[in-house]
Symmetry: C2
């Protein structure tokens, strides 16, 4: 089940970046489950990683290894989380295995894992998988790689873009996996973005942060955040664009601006492929005093089980929106200044039902599979928006029956 998820059939080459995948039987047979990226000398990687206190071993290692990068290794089926010192040693060993093939320093390799928690990685099968994935790797390997990182995703998700920055053509391809915000057993969201632009380590980190703030940090499926979440940006510096050395330079801002639609699209596709999703909903909040308070309202609405079930039912039960706005913890919020719209249907104005409101109009909006909840707080100029899905029988089914 997914909501208008575009098919990913072709992904464009990013000069300087090869990738490929192999079947290593990490947990299941007959599926791609180990992937590698190999990066041209001069490549740099920066990332953002889960804030969960239980950070998985590969997250700890990948974060430390950001910077100059020659390779990335990813497996699905086993998250290598809650595995103690042994798990940490396994994550480091994954780097060493790929580094041997690349004749590089293991510190220039980043490891990622996604899958069940609390089990040791099968390192013998991992070694064979990495070897096979290196053999398979090519600049055309993105689609296989997008397949290999999937867990319960219903389809691979990737986007390519080509654009100009200061007269140079830049290629960018990104892939993402994840269909709950968190999957601690088939853990998590992983996203990889490659571009042939070049930048310093500091710029890479800032770029990953700024892009995530516009995309992956603005979606929620169930409000849970995993032990393994990671989003990594890799720049190979193979384009004609001069190396970007400063975070606030014009080139940086242009690259950020151009890459934003790509990560927004990846983030939206993650929600479209959300667990049990039957609706794709944008929650837009404006008129807040700060972006923080807009986000607080948007997330409270997007996380409310009562709203999510009403969205599933297509029921314009607007009292539930009032309830959620009211419990978002906004100081001195005056309900008498709040307006609520579903798409362009005004439901409540100044805190009570709009004189023009006709339930049939709101029901029509909510019966569609995509719509916007538009909340106007009437106390400032800040704006935010998040994407979310509904809470369906299938969400319960997927999560109640997942391991059985």
């Amino acid at each position: 089940m997914s909501v208008n998820l575009p098919v990913t059939s072709q992904l464009a080459v990013v000069p300087g970046l090869a990738c490929g995948a192999a079947e290593a039987n990490i947990r299941y047979r007959d599926r791609l489950d180990v992937a590698v990226f190999t990066c041209a000398p001069g490549s740099v990687a920066g990332g953002v990683f889960t804030q969960n206190s239980y950070r998985a071993a590969p997250v700890l290692v990948a974060e430390r290894h950001c910077g100059d990068v020659r390779g990335l290794v990813v497996n699905s089926g086993n998250a290598n989380a809650a595995t103690g010192d042994e798990g940490l040693a396994d994550a480091i060993h994954m780097c060493e295995l790929l580094a041997q093939h690349l004749d590089s320093d293991p510190h220039d390799v980043l490891p990622f894992s996604t899958g069940v928690i609390g089990e040791r990685l099968p390192m013998d099968r991992m070694a064979k998988g990495i070897e096979d994935a290196v053999t398979a790797a090519s600049e055309e390997g993105w689609l296989d790689t997008a397949h290999a990182i999937m867990t319960t995703d219903t389809a691979p998700k990737g986007v390519s873009l080509s654009f100009d920055v200061q007269g140079s053509t830049i290629a960018a391809t990104g892939i993402v996996k994840g269909s709950g915000m968190i999957r601690p057993d088939m853990a998590t969201m992983l996203a990889f973005l490659g571009t042939d632009a070049g930048f310093t380590v500091e710029v890479a980190s800032q770029l990953a942060f700024d892009l995530a703030e516009r995309s992956f940090n603005r979606l929620t499926i169930d409000g849970d955040t995993s032990t393994n979440d990671a989003f990594v940006v890799i720049g190979t510096n193979q384009s004609e664009l001069p190396l970007i050395e400063k975070v606030h330079s014009n080139a940086y801002r242009q690259l950020l601006f151009r890459l934003t639609p790509l990560v927004e699209e990846l983030a939206m596709r993650t929600v479209r492929d959300g667990e049990g999703a039957t609706k794709f909903v944008t929650v837009r909040v404006n008129g807040g005093r700060t972006e923080r308070e807009c986000l607080d309202v948007a997330y409270t609405v997007a996380h409310s089980p009562l709203i999510k079930t009403a969205i599933f039912a297509g029921d314009p039960n607007w009292g539930r929106f009032c309830m959620a706005i009211g419990r978002a913890g906004i100081r001195d919020l005056d309900p008498n200044r709040v307006d609520l719209f579903l798409d362009d249907v005004c439901i409540a104005r100044h805190g009570k039902i709009a004189p023009t409101y006709v339930e049939a109009a709101a029901a029509k909006v909510m019966a569609s599979d995509e719509f916007t909840v538009d909340i106007r707080l009437g106390r400032g100029n800040a704006t935010e928006r998040v994407w979310t899905s509904d809470l369906s029988y299938d969400y319960v089914k997927i999560n109640a029956e997942y391991r059985t």
Copy 2:
């Protein structure tokens, strides 16, 4: 559907307090839906009310009218919320209607409403309902009153206790309605506790707060909080116990101590009657530095849709508990010091799977309809616990199909 919900068949008299109910057709026919309490002169009421910014009109009025009290009037079927100034006038008019019958000041009457949001109260039917309920009122009227305040509760919920404080026998009876933490359409939790102990207004407020902190503020069904939540304590001062005038007196502490099991039982019954509940779960967190951080962990666990669905499935998917503990926002939490138990089965110790762990033992605990999730943070001496239920197909069904 409910989880081991005891039948409420008899509720004890509280000297000085009469109550009764009537069928007023507020929203549905052939059911009790208006109730009144009448209180002997010298009675005092204090309460705690929802913190939601969208507070319903009756909440605003009831809070203002706390203090000397001669009557309470409650209706189900219509929450009188998001109804603007007109709704406020209706809530005040409810007080006036009961005050006429009691020959009292309307400021000594507290109004409560629970039901659909955004609709005006039918004040003509309300007037007749109040008249009939006054006629019906008697010291034996608690069970009818418990029926009248129900919305989608599966059964009335009430508890009586009798105990000694400083040599005087005290009677106490409490009733509660609510089967989601919030029902913004059939809104909310309402609880009323009457006792023949006597106390000042200040003591009444503190008593309501202290009791709620031990009971209603420690439960969650879906994490939503409504526009109409209220818990009111009424003391009639008809017992032989001298009036309690100081919050930190021995008599206050003894009364609080004796009433606590009553409100705990009401709160637990609310969870047992939770929407779609098939399990009753206690989440106990100890070893925190502060009670606040224990509560943050407990609520994060109790609100996690992934944990709630695993509980529904009886699946000891312990990675989900780690995930939730890790995202509770506890600064410097060291996962390597955290232990996790289900009842007495140790699942994880020092942040990874316990050497003695056998999944069958945990599965057996989770297959039962009541158990305790016991989380030991290993960083301090604070302890907290909350009660919660699971997330079942029926929760989705009830909330998706409620209005249709």
